[in-house]
Subunit: 138 residues, 2 copies
């Protein structure tokens, strides 16, 4: 594989959500995030087999609007808190803007999963889906 | 930003581990994985500020030796189990081979974090570090 391909993401799908603007997004899924649909690209649909309604899954997303130059920030947008390293925060603005979300599958249609709760903007790209497998992640 | 840059990972560092071969790796960190060092690239070191010994952190890694064409596999390498969709498993062979690990910081040196337990090969690339922030992830 050529060197330039190793670090290239191949997005498996996209988030369809009522969240249209960054400022509408809750900071975490547990803070009032809505249901959303995951639209999976045709070439990756076989990878969804065995997932079922009721399963808890981990989504890895790619915040396509992120500022990737950020190394220091204020935790939880609290500008009177100390300025901290970005790796000690969940800021979406970070060198590799991967979002990590634990959601429940509410519905399955061909090439589509309905999940809840998801604090990601409409159009957020989807990197991966993993099962929740340990007690520590539930 | 050019379209081809959006999906490009910018690795923040690399794993230094005694695990040298795929077959030496436990399936999960809790299954006997060793301590490892995270070597952070100079340009990302400022992002480590505020992390401290004893913190639990989530690491996102990139399995550089993965087979990215896999959509169906056997869970936990058990070939007498049914063949399932890769997104219902934690197989490292998957379209975007991102590893997800919860580890504890055992030591900090300039540009280096010592963590435990980490079931990732020596040379595995590092995408992101996030704090464990909810009871559900501890």
């Amino acid at each position: 594989m050529a060197n330039e391909d190793i670090s290239q993401l191949n997005f498996i799908g996209v988030v369809q959500s009522s969240l249209q603007r960054k400022e509408d997004c809750p900071l975490q899924g547990e803070e009032g995030a809505p249901e959303a649909w995951l639209l999976i690209k045709k070439e990756f649909m076989d990878g969804l087999d065995s997932l079922k309604v009721g399963d808890s899954i981990i989504l890895l997303t790619w915040f396509h609007l992120a500022d990737r130059s950020v190394l220091k920030c204020y935790p939880r947008r609290e500008t009177n808190s100390p300025h901290v390293g970005v790796f000690a925060t969940r800021s979406p603005d970070r060198p590799n803007p991967v979002g990590l979300h634990t959601v429940k599958i509410l519905g399955i249609e061909p090439g589509k999963l309905k999940v809840h709760p998801l604090e990601a903007l409409d159009g957020t790209l989807l990197i991966d889906i993993k099962p929740v497998i340990t007690a520590t992640e539930k």
